[in-house]
Each structure stands twice: as C-alpha cells, then as structure tokens.
Amino acid sequence: MSIKLQHITYQYESQGEEPKKAIDDISLEIKPGEFIGIIGHTGSGKSTLIQHFNGLLKATSGSYYFDGEDVYGKGFSIRDLCKKVGFSFQYPEYQLFEATVLDDVCFGPKNMGLTRAEQEKRAREALEAVGIPKKYEMKSPFLLSGGEKRRVAIAGVLAMEPQYFILDEPTAGLDPIGRKKILDLLKKLWKEKGMTIILVSHSMEDIADYATRVLVMKTGKLLMDGTPKQIFGQMNKMQEAGLSVPDVTKCVHMLNERGFSFSEDITQIGEAKDAILAALGEKVLPVSYARKSSYSVSNLSGSNLMSDIFGSEL
C-alpha cells in the first residue's frame, strides 16, 4: 500500500528552446500513515511532482508503482487511482460549480458510480468532518465565505474517501484562524482515519508543526528527505536551496550567536520555550499554568531579548 516513484523525470517542450525538465530523476517511497510535507522554492517542481501521484501527469521516463502495481503498465486504470489518491489544488474553491453545497460535494462520489443515497451519506460525513454546518447544505456554494468555500471544496475530495490526500498549499490566502482549522483538520484525518497526508506548503512553521517527514525540492531534484528536525536543523543548507527555516529556529540560531548553546534543530515554539527557560535556570512549568499567570521575565538577565521575541507567549 504505497506510492513508489523510481527515477521519474518529466520533460516538456518549450517554444523554440531546449526541452526543460520540470522534475529530474526523482525516486521516493511514501508509505501509508505518513504526514509528508513538500517544500521548495517557486519553480522547483513541487506542483509537477504531486500531479504524478494521482496520475494527472504521466512521467516522460521512470516508473511509478502504486501498491505494487505498475501505474504506467497496461490495464491500470488511472481513473481508479484518482479515487484512492485525493487531490486538492491551490485555491480549490475555484472548482465549485453546483447549485447547492451538497450537490457539489456529491460530485466526486457520483463519478465513482455510487447511488444517490450513498453519495449523500458520504457528502454529509465529509461536510461534518470539515466543520460545515448542516444548514449550509442547500445553500449555493458561491454565497459562502472564502474559508467556508475552501472547506467545502476539501469536503468534495474527502467524500471520495481516498487513502492518500495531497494538498497544494491548502492554507493560501486564509486568515490565521482559517489556516489553523484546515491544518487541524488534516491532523485529525491523519491521526483518526489513518489517511496519508501530503502537504505542499511555503510555511516552514506549518510543516514543522504538522509533518512527520519533509521532502525538499530544488530545481526539479529531490534535495533532502528526512524528519523536520533533520531538515530544519541544517539551516545553512536550506538557505542555499532558496528556502528558510521556521522563525523559531532562526531565533535559536541568533541566541546561539549571542552565547547560548541551544540545540540547532529546535523547530517548534514549545520546544524553544522549554529550552530557554531551562537555560535561564527557571523551572519548566506546565503549559496551562504558564499561560494563566502573568509571568513577567523582564527582570532576568539578558531578558529584554526574551520579551521582545516571545512577548505574551510566556
């Protein structure tokens, strides 16, 4: 039950120029149950790569095995692949077209050949999972807010009950609450339903907070493949690749330059807080207590930097 790419290359003709390689000799394997983050500079081939996973694009060379079967072999149904590998493009709300929210979410199951009753059942489950209230079912999707439209679009893919769910920048253009809702939804699907999530994002923080494995793309090639700590711990290499690391990692580096010696692969704010408090000799408090108390650290040594950086987080 895995996605296995071997030496995949995708070349395309460019008017009057040499054929360009959007992705160049990529081999990787994605096992079920992973939460993968794919990052890379603009034009690095991320979008091209993920479109191979569900068969929208066919590699110009190399092979692709899905669950052990040769996708490019005879008799393999690419349409069936669509059902098992769900895909959400950037700004997926632009694909909404039906007269009612329910009908639009039913579109996917309808294409799978399910009965209307089955379609509606799945659609309702999907809408509930994304947090769209029942009263919106008969509304026109065009009358919803941006964040709601996006969640309806995602429900449209979820209703097909895929094993893998690929999302290209699902949080683009959303406000912080909207972004958190989407990411928490993905985490829930991953943990509770065992869905394999593949997330393309430009936000290093989101990747660091949610992914278990990170793939770094650079000019069509797979540069790095590892856990978030392994990847973001190499700040210099990331910057060479035209990328960045989570802000908190940068902050830790800056602190290290000023004499501290924190671990360079800190990727989450919680970790940083614990490490800093430990270094300053304070007890590491349980999170809820620290939030409730108005804990002022401004009279500790070297502390102006602390409150500037962490403000009311502590």
Binding site: Q51, N54, L56, R79, C82, K83, G86, F87, S88, F89, P92, Y94, Q95, L96, F97, F107, G108, N111, M112, F142, G156, V157, M160
Partner: protein
C-alpha cells in the same frame, strides 16, 4: 495540455515586414486578395507569385511555418480541385466512367487552387508579422472615421486587446479547472454527444465565474488608475508612418498597377 494554442501565430523576427506600420500590412493584404480575382491568366498570376515570394523572403518567416496555414484548408482544396477537374463541361481529355477530365476543368482547378493558396499565404504573412495588439491598433486607426457616426471604435479596440490579453490566462485557468475536476473523477471523453455536453458544466461554470471575477478586478484596477472610457486617451506607442511605410505603399501601388495593366493587356491581346 491546452498550452499549445498559439494566438494569431505571431512569429518573432527582425524583418522589414515586421517593422512596417500595421495599417500598411492590413491594406496590403486586402489589396493583394482583391488582386487575386483579376483576370485568370498565367502572366497575371506570375506577377502575383513574384510579389508573394518577395514578401515572404523579406519577412524572414520560415516557409514551413507559413505552410502550416495551408493544412487547415487541404481538404476543401482537394475537394474543389477534384470537383472542378472532373465536373466542368468542356473539351474532354479522357474519362473514367462518369468522371470526365476536361481541359476547362483543369484550368478552373488550377486557378482556383492558386487563388485559395495565395489567399491563405497572404493572410498568414499578415498574422505572422503583426502582433494581435498591433493589428488592433491598426484597425482602430483605420476605422477611426466611424467615430463620426457614433461607432465607439476606441472602446471596441480596448475590448479586443483585453480579450486577446486574457486568452492565455483563461486557458491556463481552464486547464487548472479541468485537472481539478478530473482529480474528482470527472471524465470528459466518455458518453454520447449529450453526455459530453453535460460533462462540460463542471468546466464552464467555474470558468465563467473565474472570468467574471477577473473582469471585476480588472475594472476596479482600471478605475483606480483613472480610466473613464476610451475617449481622448493617448497611446504609448502611437502609430506613425515612417519612410519605410511610404516605400511599402509605393511598391504596393506599383504591384496593383502592374496587375491591372497586365489584366488589361492580356484581355486586349488574348494572351495566356
């Protein structure tokens, strides 16, 4: 997938023809096409051929590119040639069953195909050497006199350039929408005609919405930059005739005179 639509088949090159004012080229193409319908005679068409070859050479557009335009009409051409060759009454050369090949038929077919081919080649030169925006500018200037009878020429020209500008953008949008619906299991190849038309709805509705949304945004952006209609707007690159255009008009004039002259000459002296 849909990315290979080239609009107007403009071929970028640095030639005297490319440098001409679009008005000269539009007028030239128009006159050339008219000249194709003068007297059917070898001498007349020889002049036309020489002129056409000179222009093609001058334009630096590779011949095989120009011939692409001919692909579209190859069937019509073949059909008319055959129909004319075998069904024109006249002096018979040979026959196979009901198909009578006549001398008149051959002549008809020959001139018919020449006219059609030259017509396509002539118009292709226009589109290969003039960008769609240049064409719009040229047409706008040429039809400017219609403003006097209240035809909003400037606004029509603005609409045309916006439309041309957005064709590649909307094509890309359509590509994205198609892929998104395919990722939800839509199939655009299956079914009979009615089924196929129904399958277009998941494509057309989002596309319309996208187009209208863009139009809305564009209108706001234009207003924010004080656009208030096309009256009285000046151009960044106004069309101005230069010496090369004068020369081109002169050559055109010479060509038309020789074509007319040759036609008269041939008619008067019953030449071929």
């Amino acid at each position: 997938m849909i990315r290979d639509i080239t609009i107007g088949q403009y071929y970028r090159a640095n030639s005297p023809i490319h440098a001409l004012d679009p008005r000269v080229k539009i007028a030239g193409t128009f006159l050339f096409i008219i000249s194709l319908f003068f007297k059917k005679s070898l001498i007349v068409y020889a002049i036309a051929t020489i002129f056409l070859i000179m222009v093609i050479r001058c334009s630096k557009v590779p011949f095989r590119f120009i011939c692409r335009g001919l692909k579209a009409i190859i069937f019509i051409l073949l059909f008319s040639v055959v129909a004319n060759m075998f069904f024109t009454p006249g002096e018979e050369i040979f026959h196979i069953g009901i198909f009578r090949l006549t001398k008149e038929g051959v002549t008809m077919a020959f001139y018919l195909s020449i006219r059609l081919i030259y017509l396509i080649l002539g118009s292709s030169i226009l589109t290969f050497t003039t960008t769609p925006n240049q064409l719009t500018s040229g047409l706008e200037k040429m039809f400017g006199f219609l403003n006097k009878i209240r035809v909003p020429v400037c606004d029509i020209a603005m609409m045309m350039s916006i439309a041309l500008r957005f064709i590649p953008i909307l094509t890309e949008e359509l590509d994205k929408i198609m892929k998104a619906q395919m990722a939800r299991g839509a199939d655009f190849d299956e079914g009979n005609l009615i089924q196929k038309m129904k399958n277009m709805i998941p494509l057309l509705v989002p596309l319309f919405v996208a187009a209208i949304r863009r139009a809305n945004d564009l209108a706001m952006a234009m207003e924010a930059r004080c656009y208030h209609g096309s009256e009285g707007r000046t151009k960044m690159k106004p069309l101005r005739y230069s010496v090369i255009d004068g020369k081109a008009y002169a050559i055109l004039g010479l060509y038309m005179i020789s074509m007319i002259g040759a036609s008269v000459f041939v008619t008067k002296f019953h030449l071929v």
